[in-house]
Amino acid sequence: MLNFISLLKNEQMKLYSRFATWSMYIILAGILLVGALIVFIFGEENEQTYGDDWKGQLAQENEELLEMNEDVGFVGFDSEIAVNEYHIENDVKPHPYDAWQFTLENAGLSMIISLFTIIVAAGIISNEYRWGTIKLLLIRPISRTKILLSKFVSVLLFSVTMLVFLFIISLVIGAIFFGINGWNPNLVQMGANEVEEVSIFAEIFTQYGLNMVNLVMMATFAFMISTLFRSSAMAIGLAIFLMFTGNTIIGFVAEYDWAKYILFANTNLNQYIGSGSPIIDGMTLGFSITVLVVYFVLFLLVSWLTFTKRDIAGN
């Protein structure tokens, strides 16, 4: 155990000794800053302030929304109307736009973290080959299995660190631009069937957690490809390509029964939560989790077999 922690320390040291890694944090912070500036300058949400007569304001808003609904001819704004009604009926004053909402909206940026994690996962093995350091790494009294595991855990550690960074920096930037209302305000939103009031903190973490599923699967995939082909470019390319085209592919083959066994039909667990509905009829949360676990184990098994069995020959 002690030497596993040493291995993790080594991997983190190598990761954070490179500017490329720090630039990922800088890029993420940069995107958030630009996003905050855009909302601050052009956004309307933060101009919408509710005074003492907030119930009257909400009722008026609802009338406008109803009119728009009729104009367009479909029920596009039903959930907004329901949310507003919930506020009025339950005497819950809506919060103005603040750091928490900013953080929730930017939970989607964990997509970028997925991208960065794929890059790290794709390099962590293949770089050792590229630098030639793999030879010195594997002549220590430590099994290859342990070294591989420490590298995989390091990738996960990196993504968690980045998520924590995203959370903190979103809150900080949000607080600077929009202020902050309390430490754990509630959020009124449309649930599965009805309007519900949830803790915004819990909501942010649900979003992060759901995105983590996709992140972990794609990172594991990139990790496998890079172990298999010892090329980070190939691993990054394939993983990112599949990440962006996965849903489109599912769209094309959704009519077939076997489509539900494809990884990408299962990575978005949002389909089972709240107002979502499964991509393919008959899929359940349990089914998706099983499929994900099978893929996960398969990816790791392939990595393990190639890494432990392969000769380290010159190239």
Binding site: N3, S17, K135, I139, A313
Partner: protein, 305 residues
Amino acid sequence: MTTSMELQDVHKSIGNKQIIKGLNFTIKRGEVFGFLGPNGAGKTTTIRMMVGLMKITSGDIKINGVSIKNNFKEAIQYVGAIVENPEMYPFMSGWKNLKHYARMIPDITDERIKEVIRLVGLEKAIHEKVGKYSLGMRQRMGIAQALLHQPSILILDEPTNGLDPAGIREIRTYIRNLAEQEQVSVIVSSHLLSEIELMCDRIGIIKNGELITVEEVQDTNTENDHVTVKLDVDDNEKVKSILQAQLELETKIVQDRVVANLAKSTVPQLVRKLVEEDIAIYEVAVERSRLEDKFFELIGENTIA
């Protein structure tokens, strides 16, 4: 003498190509063993098998009696190695690189790391990035990481590669000290006889994946052996005639030196004669011809140098 390493009928095939065709030899404790062969002979491949980077197709390698094949973790503890170039993480300092490898072995203190740094003479540059190091400095880093855990067997694949003459001599002295004072067995590979003959006790010659011969280095220079002597003197012609008349030696003049082939035991006599005849002697160079001749004979002149 106890055995440090034993190769037992080691074979290696990649695809259907036989690269190593049955190597058998042992390395004794505290001995410096030279592993000599032309490019592509299979030196690096053999070394990769010794340290478990490549699987042994058939046969086995025992390190201090422990099989690297069946008990990798125990066997490798005794070994420090450089395989081909000593590649380091270029974006980290020398210190961090060593710390990295130190963390992978139990009980290596920062004190020990500093000691090794002092030993290879890298104190000044140790906090600079390895990417800025010269080849010689990286070669020293390679030796430093191999010595961290005080191995009883040191395996160095072409350690003199890229070193200047002073660097080569330094490594040579250093390797001899390790072997003589700390009883470390050292395996050095090279494709240049001249670079390793001065530091090795024995030299094994490998060609096309086969061990051709193992030679004791001292053996090649015993009293009865013939050596080539090159004399730098004031009067070449006079020396030539003295040697011919008094010692019955065939001589020729090459590059303004008198060259003669004679038994090593007659060298003192030759010098005495020349002094008696009042010849000014600037240099008497004895070349160890036998080993070199043997290598040329076995491997062919143009492939070895």
